[in-house]
Symmetry: D3
Subunit: 243 residues, 6 copies
Amino acid sequence: MSGVQRLLVVGAHAADFVWRAGGVIALVTANGGEAIVLALSYGERGESGELWKEPGQTVERVKAIRHEQAERAAHLLGARFVSFDLGDYPLEVDREATERLAQLIRDFRPDAIVTHTPTDPFNPDHPVANQAVQRARLLSSGAGVASAFETIEPPPLYYFEPHQPELCGFVPNVFVDITPVFEKKVAAMQVMASQQYLQHYYAELAERRANHARRISGAKDIRYAEAFQRVTPLVVRALLGHG
Amino acid sequence: MSGVQRLLVVGAHAADFVWRAGGVIALVTANGGEAIVLALSYGERGESGELWKEPGQTVERVKAIRHEQAERAAHLLGARFVSFDLGDYPLEVDREATERLAQLIRDFRPDAIVTHTPTDPFNPDHPVANQAVQRARLLSSGAGVASAFETIEPPPLYYFEPHQPELCGFVPNVFVDITPVFEKKVAAMQVMASQQYLQHYYAELAERRANHARRISGAKDIRYAEAFQRVTPLVVRALLGHG
Amino acid sequence: MSGVQRLLVVGAHAADFVWRAGGVIALVTANGGEAIVLALSYGERGESGELWKEPGQTVERVKAIRHEQAERAAHLLGARFVSFDLGDYPLEVDREATERLAQLIRDFRPDAIVTHTPTDPFNPDHPVANQAVQRARLLSSGAGVASAFETIEPPPLYYFEPHQPELCGFVPNVFVDITPVFEKKVAAMQVMASQQYLQHYYAELAERRANHARRISGAKDIRYAEAFQRVTPLVVRALLGHG
Amino acid sequence: MSGVQRLLVVGAHAADFVWRAGGVIALVTANGGEAIVLALSYGERGESGELWKEPGQTVERVKAIRHEQAERAAHLLGARFVSFDLGDYPLEVDREATERLAQLIRDFRPDAIVTHTPTDPFNPDHPVANQAVQRARLLSSGAGVASAFETIEPPPLYYFEPHQPELCGFVPNVFVDITPVFEKKVAAMQVMASQQYLQHYYAELAERRANHARRISGAKDIRYAEAFQRVTPLVVRALLGHG
Amino acid sequence: MSGVQRLLVVGAHAADFVWRAGGVIALVTANGGEAIVLALSYGERGESGELWKEPGQTVERVKAIRHEQAERAAHLLGARFVSFDLGDYPLEVDREATERLAQLIRDFRPDAIVTHTPTDPFNPDHPVANQAVQRARLLSSGAGVASAFETIEPPPLYYFEPHQPELCGFVPNVFVDITPVFEKKVAAMQVMASQQYLQHYYAELAERRANHARRISGAKDIRYAEAFQRVTPLVVRALLGHG
Amino acid sequence: MSGVQRLLVVGAHAADFVWRAGGVIALVTANGGEAIVLALSYGERGESGELWKEPGQTVERVKAIRHEQAERAAHLLGARFVSFDLGDYPLEVDREATERLAQLIRDFRPDAIVTHTPTDPFNPDHPVANQAVQRARLLSSGAGVASAFETIEPPPLYYFEPHQPELCGFVPNVFVDITPVFEKKVAAMQVMASQQYLQHYYAELAERRANHARRISGAKDIRYAEAFQRVTPLVVRALLGHG
């Protein structure tokens, strides 16, 4: 069973991909694969803490800075950054934007899609992003039969780790060893200057998840890990042991 | 990520492994791996339907026939058959038997263990087997640190499919394509003459699960599949797509 | 679909059947059916509040009074009272007692069994009774095939309402109109002098559950009801509307 | 307790009722009752596999064929076919369509409504249909008191079986013996030429569910069954055994 | 840990606050605190039973009566009544109304918000109110960082008790002793003449919940209680015993 | 609402209380309260990693060292250490030991009991400890009525945080600010030399839980916290805001 070669990560806000999936993105691209990170909004109003401490700050300026930061972070991870600029707090994804997302999925044909959990009592936009991804994914792949529109094979779906996992109903069932690319994730996190306070938090989280992964598998060389919840079943040619 | 090389399947009764995991056993051994099938009892009293229709039948005779059938079926799948002969209806696994199972796990060092679901409203022995396996697995692998007894790396744990999955809380998250070895499973099922009525049922189930696996993954060449619920998280070096 | 003709109610303590299932017992017997109420213990140590306020009270005397009260209450409901006298706080049901219960089920061949919920954070004995009933029920009915022991068709299983339903995970899916026999239930409750404080509580509960039943079904003539959670699926010849 | 006399089945697409509830529809009408099958859309874009293999196919033509097929299938089952033609992939049910559905429920006064599960990770339209039915049912029956609009008694609600039940959270609690009308269901399935590949699948499913129903109830004469999840509690005059 | 000083109760309909939270409202105001009760609609069409028995009744008249009654009831409890008059059966809360609610929360800065459960199979409007409150609460408090809009500290969130708690997934984890203010709740309930039939029901419920609270805590002086489900974790300076 | 004055912490092994509840123990004793920490076993065989690296180590010597360390750690937290020395891997708590625990609870009359979660797929002994505590707690407090044995008011029950919370079903609903006593917890952790590798892990966990607590409550001065899951409902005199 080989790793993902075409990865799509969808976040409600511009920086989600860095904290929550920076490692697996870097793994895909380091292995010669391709990754797209899509931000449904820039998180310009609600998620750009330090930028809003500047006097006279404007939404347009925050969006520009966030775009530039996200693009640089994506670049450091080897990924392409795309934004739909749908607005945040609240994010809304209407029928037209859902179809646009479905088309992006059809065009890119990812081996896996990663997004937010369906529940998040700390954020109004994360569940909206989840719903949009779930719908667009089904619209892109159809019912597995010939249809009035182009369809692709249904990409596996993962949730990345939310801020307070237990309260979001997040139960990790896949731990990915990101030790070989951890430095890239650190570099990408450093770019997100507007949310600097998160860098230490997510570096420690990577150590904590590595501790868990070692305990689960016995693999003593894992120093940094990211946790995911795979939603779609695995379809395999043999039962899997540890990785 | 490579497939399991050392597989342990634990059933409450002698024939469980054939119906529920015959395919993955054959895959392991076909790929050069090793498999042990352990029956905690012979299912001599409660699970040997057709044998008990013979007048003058005795428990000892049923056990002997079941042992011989299970051994032949295991052989056809390339596996070794072991029985603990603990009695059925009700099966009880005391401290000594649990330790014996833990020692078997330590000695064999399986890459994966497969057993019953923890809940089964149709069978008094299946949950007992599950509890025993869970405890023995933890006793064999310890706390991940040096200890007073020998420990091994904790083997991943799977549940195989129960008879009425929804009512047992079974949610399949791994579908294994058993098309290449399906004929071996059929041959093994035919050996279990004491439960002949199940052969048709489980052959159809393999087609049904293949239908599901195709729908999930788009892999059109899967004709027979077995479904499992993986309980322990995957620890991997890269995010996985479809198999 | 006709109502139950042979009903078995199993309680951890002598009086459980009165409060929690007195109505359905009376309905069965009023309709010409037969009911057995089995108390695994007398609840002599933990559940006999007012009796223990008498100075010099003894366990043996409490058991005798409880036996006599339960027998009278059962009689008023038209049922037969049986006690296993296994002791309470804590109740323990060993292998021999489980088999005795399985034999009682085989002999009586009930159309339905009613007992406690599997979870009850307010009582150490209720979950033990539940486990015993679940095991004995499976041992009495076997695997649906010929076996070394006599088997009967698996009786449907219900849970009656615990004291604090939400905290016991009780979700009622069957409301039974006990209006025609409510006076019998009241009479039976009055016999349980050792737990007098519960009579008002359970009379009001019957009104409350009737209110719910009316709201669910529109049946305006239901004045008293009991709520149950049916665990085993219905197998029917036609889809059912309201009763 | 007598069977349903007025049955409403609501599907997202034109053919859902045939595969998932054809048997119970035929039972109702064979017993002198009345059934309406409502398709919220024709499934013209996403669910009409074989029709879209024809070159030059158009949505209008697919809709016409699907209408004609569904009408014939409904006729074979003794039911009336109604379509709201709301469009599929994605289906959307706005306020006006919800009120139209509520009015249909008020006018028909069904004894039971059957529809999709609220969750279906394989289909974008099934959960939308479920939500619409749940809302319309509540709007049609109100709060159980006098109100500004006409209300009816709240009809019991059932979910029919989805394609991959465990992954849709479907837990069957009602199995209906459809043996007496199975030939009618087969005939109705044969009409749905645009989804021919499903006929074998659902015929086998009927045997599998019959196997389950026999094991649950001991009723050996059940050869074909359909499984449902009843959502609203039963309100009855006596505890029910097996059917 | 001191009690709430600023309480916001949000109901779908004008009278919800009286039945479900009248006691805690009176406690807050009796302790010198401030309470706002917000009705998203008047429940004019679906929840005003007795008013609709009058011939020639109109929606406008019902709304006026409901407003006047709710205002008087609120006054008796020491609270301020606010209505958004959004319409009922079905209630819809659009983006503008959600923002209006968020602004009310920002302005009032409540120590706690109390509203409906997210699930209610008996009412189409309660879940809509829940969703609106959850979204507005998150919009008012933001991501805990500087942002483009004013934010407040996130108020703890509670659900009050629905009519049929088990079927709404309501699990009470906070019981509040309302004995000292119970007479005020009774007075407020008497004002809601349009739903007179509920007064007896909710008075008995208060006794029943007090019985539960006594059993849980041992506090024998609790005669009337209200039950709530706290959704947001407690953040405290010491572990809490009973109150 | 005041904090706990009499706290009982029960661990399967000698050191559990330090890592998982050291902060709340220190808070209780710093506030003039009393705390007992009970170890059901010393964790001598499975949990004493570094000690077993010494050549020639014996179980008796490990137990002695663990006793001495636990006693010193408890002393630093102001608590009394008690051990039942029941053995580990596997821990078994028989009827006599359960009654001994019940008597300890009756004698100490704690305001709160803290122990392991009922599920822990990484440890065979933690769920056993949970079951024992649940049973003993119920035996100590009885049914809330007069009985054959002395009873106390039922102490509230909490679970402390397990190693991999999501996989143990742990959902924290109480965060306790342990900033004022964090140095004491650090000192106590340093005493547990046999599990040195855990000190860094649990110090970081305290920071992480403080981050969560700040986000939930807005209380910016919380630097270290412990998370708990309260199982028994709160019974209070007023609705609570944040602490």
